[in-house]
Symmetry: C2
Subunit: 336 residues, 2 copies
């Protein structure tokens, strides 16, 4: 008889600045018991996302902080291996918010069943999941791009940016991406059809580079990064521009907010809008979003890329890589 | 025979920082000739407004800068004294954008006739004019206050703030004003019915004072001032709050933008909206606004205060007073 083991990754201490692998620990655990109405899910893929950095700090935000010495939770795609929930059978593939574990027990009502015939199941963590929906609703509901307008996307090669930029192209916009390597900017222009892309790292004068890439100014700015990149983009906003605040990844590892030029005088003279959001603001429209994205994907109008790291034990490293620019497209950890 | 003289105020040099009277000059001028389709308007009241500071700098903005050695233009209420325009007769009272002069020639099509029976004609520069419409559209179209919500207004005792706060009260909100003297805060609470008002100048801990005045947080922030006051208010924004960027008077006299805490991380986690505007964004809805404000005024649901300075020659002083907190309500210059 083989003893099946369970493993889990816990938050050992709250990161100061950039997270380090030592902030996390891999621990042995019991296989959980399958209670009434629950299932046991074997992890196939787990998601690492920038927003999780906020939960690692002790600060109250829109989601409660992770507790110390407890398992990290996030998006997980897995296979049902035991079930006491009527609507799920062993072998079903599901997605939900679960622990970074080999095996999780989960309330069946909190899982969504995935049809593996439609697309690879890992897309439920990417283009057909939270990042795809984030791009979809943020761009369409706040950015409201019109054909002929110029859309700038920062963090453009990430899980959300790649989708936001492609949707803007589908809407007939000029799309300019900002990313942190030539491999990424090449990918944006050559694979995803962006009109231009700027590698900000070796660019001495970002404003000038943006002016060249956006000769008609900026109508929509889809902001994943914040900081000096965003300070620069907003100086090029057009009358009635829209700034979609999706993320501020450049700021997540700062222990104190960094001061910068105030944006209000610019928004004022441009009659411009800036709005923050979180994908759960649109929870009652997820079906619409998944249908829309799924249709474009089926029509081959959207492409996606996944950046895979293998092994649950490497999830902390994959997470840290989000902040050092490791990933192009959606960063996913494949369980072994 | 009496020789009628004309006088005008020109911009002598662009102010550096706070404007001084020496930046302006009073000059003798000819009475203009009344061309075909034009009228000669004798100035009764002229308006000084914070936005005019921007036009005194050489910087391109939403309106062209004032030219040096040329007359300052702004809102003027006057009496038609000569007419070659079919729809206006001598004695008619009109409002328009005219020079700071005793007598202006004006294209009849660019003037709006006022009915002196409805309200004192000077209100066409205040509650029934640009400042009133600014408050009306900014608060209702961007702020969208709902009954029971908390609305904070900065620059609350000014021409726009007094109207915005009163409209918010009419919508059933808790309204908190921020102003710069006890006379002003007393006026807001005792005369205009604000629920609370804070004199920020002697208040050592503005955040704490705001927390006390807004125990349920801030749902709408109508911002006339910018700077540290606004930095503080936004820390109290609620989920899905709206920030109406109407003015940034604290910043208008700075030669370089002052850095401050970035607002984006707050807007992000609160799913909050911030939007700039200028009243001309709503030019096609002015009639609706004037009707709405006029009705509330006739029903005595809105009060207004004018702060009068006498004499065209004192217009520069009245203008400067906007930045030193001289006025409660609408600052107007009455011609003699």
């Amino acid at each position: 008889m083989v003893t099946i083991k369970n493993r889990e990754i816990v938050l050992l201490q709250r990161p100061e600045g950039m997270p380090r692998e030592g902030d996390f620990a891999l621990r042995q655990a019991e296989i959980p018991v399958c209670g009434d109405g629950s299932v046991i899910v074997k992890t196939l893929y787990l998601s690492v996302d920038p927003y999780m950095r906020g939960r690692m700090s002790g600060v109250k935000s829109y989601i409660a902080p992770f507790a110390l010495d407890e398992v990290i939770t996030g998006g997980v795609v897995g296979e049902v291996v035991e079930t006491r929930y009527a609507d799920l059978r062993a072998g079903d593939i599901v997605v939900g918010t679960l622990g970074w574990r080999d095996y999780n027990a989960a309330d069946g009502r909190e899982l969504r069943k995935i049809d593996p015939a439609l697309a690879p199941v890992s897309t439920a963590l990417g283009i057909l999941g939270m990042p795809g929906l984030t791009a979809y609703f943020g761009l369409l509901d706040i950015g409201k791009p019109s054909a002929g307008e110029t859309v700038v996307v920062s963090g453009a090669a990430g899980a959300v940016g790649t989708v936001a930029g492609q949707i803007a192209k589908l809407k007939g916009c000029r799309v300019v991406g900002i990313a942190g390597s030539d491999a990424k900017t090449g990918y944006l222009v050559n694979e995803l059809g962006f009109d231009a892309a700027i590698n900000y790292k070796p660019t001495p004068d970002l404003k000038n580079a943006l002016k060249e890439a956006c000769p008609g100014g900026v109508d929509v700015y889809f902001d994943n990064v914040g900081g000096f990149i965003s300070d620069t983009v907003v100086t090029l906003l057009n009358y009635r521009a829209r700034v979609v605040l999706c993320g501020q990844i450049s700021q997540y590892n700062m222990s104190k907010p960094e001061p910068g030029p105030r944006v209000q005088p610019i928004l004022l003279v441009k009659s411009a809008l800036m709005k923050g959001f979180i994908v759960t603001d649109y929870a009652d429209r997820y079906d619409e979003g998944v249908r829309g994205l799924g249709l474009w994907l089926a029509q081959k109008k959207l492409k996606y890329t996944e950046h895979l790291v293998e092994g649950l034990e490497n999830a902390p490293r994959a997470f840290i890589g989000l902040f050092t620019g490791e990933n192009t497209g959606k960063q996913i950890v494949k369980a072994r």
